[in-house]
Subunit: 677 residues, 2 copies
């Protein structure tokens, strides 16, 4: 039978973000907001007018805007300009075009004034218009009078110029629609750099006409044609997003070496890597032929990607092949190269002028940084603020990615707390600080497929987008989560299928069984964090990603909000009673769940592994209810009972099936409260 | 806070289709099944081989098949043929191509043999292959050993040759992706005719190069280009589906007359109709110029649509314009035409040779039938089996659409019960019966948009598909509903977004409020039936379809299964206790719901109208629980209480907000049981 949705007792307890709230659903928070009086009605009479500078991109943006406003309201709207003599509901005015190829640091500011009779969006160029349109759409809500946008005056601009998202399409292939939807979602939260990780050990993903073997041998048939690359770049430009391609070298280049083993540091042959990790194959940095080849490849690739930056990767070279090749060792001695880092610096010092020669600036991961490189390179830090601060002190620009790795399954609040200008970078002087350009979320693709990658990027990435756009002082986590829920709805409307993918994957797992009990378990677990999946089992490119760990959301909203309920019940000044009632309801729900889920668990090879988790969830319900009874009665539980539960929590908190039960700490808190601790 | 999914106590009560079941998820049921021993494992080693006749269409079908099998299992699969010397998991063998343009009555039979080591699909031509592939995909399920298809021998062929679905794209515009997804879903349940209702009072939807005014003036800019038409036809052909275009005339042609008022029976001018219903404008059947124009239009349109049938509509001419035009009246007198039906027969007698002249056969609605027409026309009956039987006796072929109107919001079981060869057609002799070619579901588009049309067609249409494909003896409604749930999951995997659209629309309604309580209400209501929405308020093309009546599913699974629970509790031989526990659980759920939903209802103009329904739902919960208490205690309720409840049921069963509360009869049954009736 279908899921019975027992909605939200939560509304009666005030500690959890519920229905009533004063703030708007804007994400990222604008730099400056002044509330006005009244609201602008959005109905069938809505008309959009584009005044001042015109271009086809703006017209397309207007058409998309009207279509999204229709989807948001369910009201059929006209994309026609207002009739002669009548005013537009929303006037969009801009004075000039932006750069033909979007540049780092271009003006993205806008002003959005909404009164009770009309709205006006002004910006110096189309980039600001695109940002302001997203803000307007986020303002629109229904109330008892209809759909409307509140009267408001917003002056907005980004805090950082480089606000990116990296997508790895090498470890698991991501077809064009996934890329385009990622770009749609990025635009919705005002991100502006799509960093396309196009080559790695597991695949080279761009058609090369000059070196066709790269695709024939290095792609498994999964690559973007040059035509598709052009289309994606146009698609991104339409949304105010730069596309920075990455070709990782001299390490993480196995796929390239499959096609061109003559470039490798040892003879080969090579085959496409099917495992995850750091592998030995590396480009030979000591031969001139290497640079001749790279000059040819980079010539072709830079002609495809118009952005001024070109990412050369440069991370995680283990140097084993270099150490094992006597000719390379002899080269190092001859040239006074002390170690592998030195050899990589040599490689970069030869690569950099090639890239520059094709009109591009270099960006690379931490390891590319070596003394002597020109100051216009950008360092992308996966190591943290420390290496970013060091680079800035040396005069290099940098962006932060450490703390923004979406594949590590951290919470939105964790990412939200990471700031490119806090920690070691906080002590920089003004000119050094100005070299911190922003940050980039990264989605490495070991454990994601086209099916679940969007649900893994979003909505958490919106928290990072806010960190990079909004003033540094915007830090209220509760507010962030409240608005994140609205962003998730917005992204679902953009057909990202964040929710739909999750549900389809759960339905696949449940098969002919009702999905409800499985969904209840899924709602309180999270995938293990950091690199714990690597250790759990041997994964390869061929491993099906169809288990609960792949279907479940990266972050458990239920566990987070249950923790708030428990806190509200134990420490809240108001509403303790209501919170306690809700805590009880959830605990009863969990206690009952295993009996309901058990038939599915027994019937499916995909679900069997969940049995211990499911049992523990029900046991947590039971223990929590016992604790609640003690708590309510005022009787103290026996010491043995307490000890038994603490041992149970220890076990129940451990990963099983690569999943963590996220309600353990809250139930433990109940037991400790009952014990009077 | 998010929805708490309290799954499915239902599993403990055996009366409702639950987890355990012996039958397969096949829909439509094959003509003949012989179960085998064991099962064929589906894992990464799966390989498909195409032997015998080859064509690009089959290769594309194989690629889609592998991709869907991947999606179904989450296992990355190879689309490569098996290595030399090794056997395919599934061998597909066919001997010859099908007709270049798919014909009515072409062989669609196939045989699918699955053993524990391999599977073999054989068919006379690619049409049978396409049907058999769908069957294979429906066989695949997970159990404790992995994914597999059961060993089986299926010999299958359709009962009827014409199994269609009509989509009205005139009243609300349906863009190409909606059309293509409709075709995908049709193929999944072995339907074979896409009937495209392309013109009506509200729009003419095909690009005409010969008569460009049709689009400039008659389409609001919403039409298919000829290129798109070609693509859709190819798309459908790839899936074994014929495309029959309909151009409705001489009535339902206002949009055409906007562009060409010279063809009308009164001077005009005309404007695109924005309302729903039957309107006066009609083509003038008395002038030669009419037929010259139609010859030109039909020449162009028949050249676009290769199918041998061409649908001329012909329904619902009210004749008012004919009556009001003295010249037409005089024509009728001169030619001895007695009435409007006679005049329409005259029109058809002139139109038919035009269509035939362009190499097509005519299909039209009931009204086209008039003595003297050639016998190769097909009558599509919206009136019922009676008119179908009459046509068959006169020697005409016919298909049934009465009983299959999906827009009337009947249940799947209602449609399932309608058979083209029952009722008045049952008495036909064999040769008359052979003229009943099949049937067609119809989705008229007054109350659907691209947003909700798929959720209105599916999954109910699969029940009609089974009626038209499977043996007449396949009639078990409980089995149908159980398998329909699997089809719904399959269609969701095809990205139809049946579930996703429903949820997005509910989320739009709920806004910042939790969607759970609204979803609980939605789950027990259905839109009003038949043409009741017409009477409820004045709808036009511009009316937003964004209320709960538009978002809710056509059929309440919860109400249907709650009724089974109540029956199980009252009359079941086993499991009465469990059923009663579940009944109680649902009633408690509903009783609590209004308090949770109320804040959203008050906050939104879209939801306010639901207040009486929501209150009544909670009241039904309360009354049901009281009845349950009486029932369990054995005490008889006072007569006044009974009378009061019966009056309440009378009121609660009435439509509000164009919605019906579907649990009223079951709660009434509880009260009657408590009263000892």
């Amino acid at each position: 039978m279908k899921i019975l949705t027992l909605g939200s007792w939560i509304m009666i307890c005030a500690v959890v973000p519920g229905a009533a709230r004063a703030e708007l659903n804007l994400m990222p928070q604008p730099a400056q907001i002044t509330a006005g009086q009244g609201k602008l009605k959005i109905d069938q009479s809505f008309r959009l007018a584009l005044t001042g500078y015109h271009e086809p991109r703006l017209e397309r943006a207007c058409a998309r805007f009207v279509s999204r406003l229709e989807h948001l309201t369910g009201i059929p709207l006209s994309a026609e300009p207002p009739a002669v003599g009548s005013e537009a509901t929303l006037e969009i005015a801009t004075t000039a075009g932006s750069s033909p190829v979007q540049k780092l640091g271009e003006d993205e500011s806008y002003r959005l004034e909404v009164t009770s009779t009309r709205a006006r969006l002004t910006a110096a160029n189309p980039l600001g218009v695109l940002r302001g349109m997203e803000t307007f759409l986020q303002l629109v809500e229904a109330d008892k009078d209809g759909f409307s946008a509140p009267a408001i005056d917003i002056n907005d601009r980004p805090r950082f110029a480089w606000r990116g998202t990296m997508l790895d399409v090498s470890r698991h292939w991501m077809p064009v629609p996934v890329v385009e939807r990622t770009i749609d979602a990025m635009a919705a939260v005002k991100l502006n750099v799509f960093h396309w990780h196009l080559s790695d050990d597991q695949g080279f993903r761009v058609e090369s006409k000059r070196f066709p073997k790269l695709l024939e041998l290095g792609s498994d048939g999964h690559f973007y044609t040059q035509q598709q690359i052009h289309e994606v770049i146009e698609y991104a430009r339409d949304r105010g997003i730069r596309v920075v391609p990455e070709f990782d070298m001299p390490g993480h280049a196995t796929a390239l070496l499959v096609a061109h083993p003559e470039l490798a540091s040892l003879p080969g042959p090579y085959s496409i890597e099917r495992h995850w990790g750091i592998f030995d194959p590396a480009i030979d940095p000591t031969r001139d032929e290497t640079y001749q080849f790279l000059d040819g490849l980079i010539a072709e690739m830079t002609s495809l990607f118009p952005d001024e930056y070109f990412h050369i990767g440069g991370d995680e070279v283990n140097g084993k092949q270099w150490g094992a090749n006597p000719r390379i060792q002899s080269f190092m001695r001859q040239h006074g190269v002390k170690d592998n880092a030195g050899l990589q610096a040599h490689f970069n010092s030869r690569l950099q002028p090639i890239v520059t020669g094709h009109g591009k600036k270099v960006i690379g991961w931490d390891e590319v940084l070596a003394p002597g490189l020109p100051k216009d390179i950008v360092v992308q830090s996966w190591r943290g603020q420390k290496s970013l601060a060091e680079a800035a002190r040396l005069g290099y620009m940098g962006i932060l990615s450490a703390g923004y790795y979406l594949d590590l399954m951290h919470s939105a609040s964790y990412h939200y707390s990471v700031d490119p200008l806090e920690g070691e970078t906080a002590g920089l002087n003004d000119s050094e600080r100005s070299r911190i350009l922003g940050g980039e979320a990264a989605m490495w693709a070991e454990y994601v497929t086209p099916e679940n990658v969007e649900m893994r990027i979003w909505p958490r990435n919106a928290a990072i987008a806010e960190r990079l756009w909004s003033p540094q002082t915007v830090k209220d986590t509760a507010s962030m989560y409240r608005r994140l829920a609205a962003v998730r709805r917005e992204l679902d409307r953009l057909d990202l299928g964040i929710s739909a993918s999750h549900e389809l994957m759960l339905e696949r797992l449940a098969g002919n069984h009702p999905v409800g009990p499985l969904s209840a378990l899924s709602d309180v677990v999270e995938p293990v964090k950091e690199y714990a999946r690597e250790e759990a089992r041997l994964y390869t490119s061929f491993t099906p990603l169809n288990r609960l760990v792949d279907a479940t959301r990266p972050e458990s909203d239920v566990a987070r909000e249950f923790a708030l309920l428990v806190d509200g019940m134990l420490t809240g000044t108001t509403d303790r009673q209501n919170c306690r009632a809700e805590v009880r309801h959830w605990l009863e729900h969990w206690r009952a769940n295993h009996a309901l889920l058990e038939p599915s668990l027994q019937g499916s090879f995909l679900l069997e592994e969940l049995t211990p988790l499911s049992k523990d969830l029900s046991a947590l319900g039971t223990v929590g209810l016992e604790a609640l009874d003690y708590f309510e009665s005022g009787r103290k539980p026996p010491g043995a009972w307490i000890q038994q539960q603490l041992a149970f929590f220890e076990a129940a908190g451990k990963p099983r099936a690569e999943l963590l039960l996220m309600i353990v700490p809250s139930v433990q808190k109940l037991v400790e409260a009952a014990a009077g601790r």
